[in-house]
């Protein structure tokens, strides 16, 4: 049996160096990107199940879902969307600065991205708080009247599942980017060694993409009725 002792150098290559199995840094970077996309495909499927369940329930109860959708806070939802879209550009500027060896700018913009993510979670927390006082949280405090009170409960179940899991993913993205910001500040990444940053950026954009679909599905459709 071939046993091989793994020394510390097997876990981490020096900055910009190529692992043994790759021909060049570009191939290594491409492989990492494809691996990240495979992971993100599983994330798309994860949210896809929630979206499919939402669409099926909506097709079965269109009037009730439209009425429940009108109870969501459009102003806060719109601000959250705008904040996430801005964070997409700040992370890009941060990664760009690291590639140009402008470490301080990189740290500033990556840190700003983390702050924008925290701002999103804070605003969303305010939404949850308002929902709690309006007795709109199924299983904890749900008291509604009217012909659609039961269908609205279904809507709010989906609302909390979808937005809750999105917020969890955003929190993971915040933690990852906070770690990346610290590593950039320490000089761990640079012109030739920024793949991990790019992958963290891809994950951040994925979380944005999910919200781009969540916002119209939960907050906008049914608003005109």
């Amino acid at each position: 049996m071939n046993t091989r002792t793994l020394e510390p150098q097997h876990f981490k290559s020096p900055a910009g160096e190529v692992e043994k199995q790759f021909d060049n840094p570009l191939q290594q970077r491409d492989t990492a990107t494809i691996g990240m996309w495979v992971f993100m495909a599983t994330e798309i499927m994860f949210f896809g199940v929630l979206f499919a369940a939402y669409l099926i329930l909506r097709s079965l109860h269109p009037a009730g879902f439209a009425e429940a959708s009108r109870d969501t806070d459009l102003l806060l939802g719109s601000i959250e969307t705008a904040v996430l879209l801005v964070s997409s550009i700040t992370i890009m500027i941060g990664i760009r600065a690291v590639r140009l060896e402008q470490r301080r700018i990189g740290v500033a913009f990556l840190g700003l991205t983390v702050l924008l993510g925290c701002g999103f979670l804070l605003i969303h927390g305010l939404e949850y708080r308002a929902d709690y006082f309006k007795h709109l949280i199924p299983g904890i405090d749900y008291h509604q009247s009217g012909p659609y009170w039961k269908v609205k409960e279904l809507f709010y179940c989906m609302y909390y599942f979808i937005t809750g899991f999105h917020s969890l993913h955003l929190f993971i993205g915040i933690c990852v980017n906070a770690g990346m910001t610290i590593r950039v500040a320490r000089g761990s990444y640079g012109e030739h060694d920024y793949t991990a940053l790019e992958l963290a950026g891809l994950y951040w954009h994925l979380v944005d993409m999910v919200w781009i679909f969540v916002f119209p599905l939960l907050y906008l459709i049914g608003r005109s009725g």
Binding site: T33, W37, A41, V49, I56, T81, M92, H192, I221
Partner: protein, 104 residues
């Protein structure tokens, strides 16, 4: 630095990112504005068209899909293809299902 095998994606100007952000925010405003207009079935179509356009902007300009290799593009499309299959096939059942009352 000039070794082609070390070159990553080309560094784009910040102005491009700013223009994409402006486009995304305009799309957001259009989505919010049109949500108050009753367009019947086109309400959901317009909203989803705006969402798909926004996602395409993100993927092309921020996720480097425009200059990615064919294998990367195919891999990134996989998740969306599976999602389309999941939602499409599920809805083909639920949208055409006719409730049949029990005979007793």
């Amino acid at each position: 630095m000039n070794d082609p095998s070390r070159q990553g994606p080309k560094i784009k100007p910040i102005s491009l990112y700013v223009w994409v952000l402006v486009g995304l925010q305009v799309l957001l405003l259009i989505a919010i504005g049109t949500s108050f207009v009753n367009l019947g079935v086109f309400n959901i179509v317009i909203r989803l068209a705006i969402a798909v356009t926004s996602v395409m902007l993100l993927m092309v300009f921020f996720m480097h899909e425009s200059r990615a290799r064919a294998l990367t593009i195919m891999t990134s499309a996989l998740g969306f293809i599976w999602l389309a299959l999941l939602v499409g096939l599920s809805l083909t059942d639920f949208l055409v299902r006719i409730p049949v009352p029990p005979p007793w």
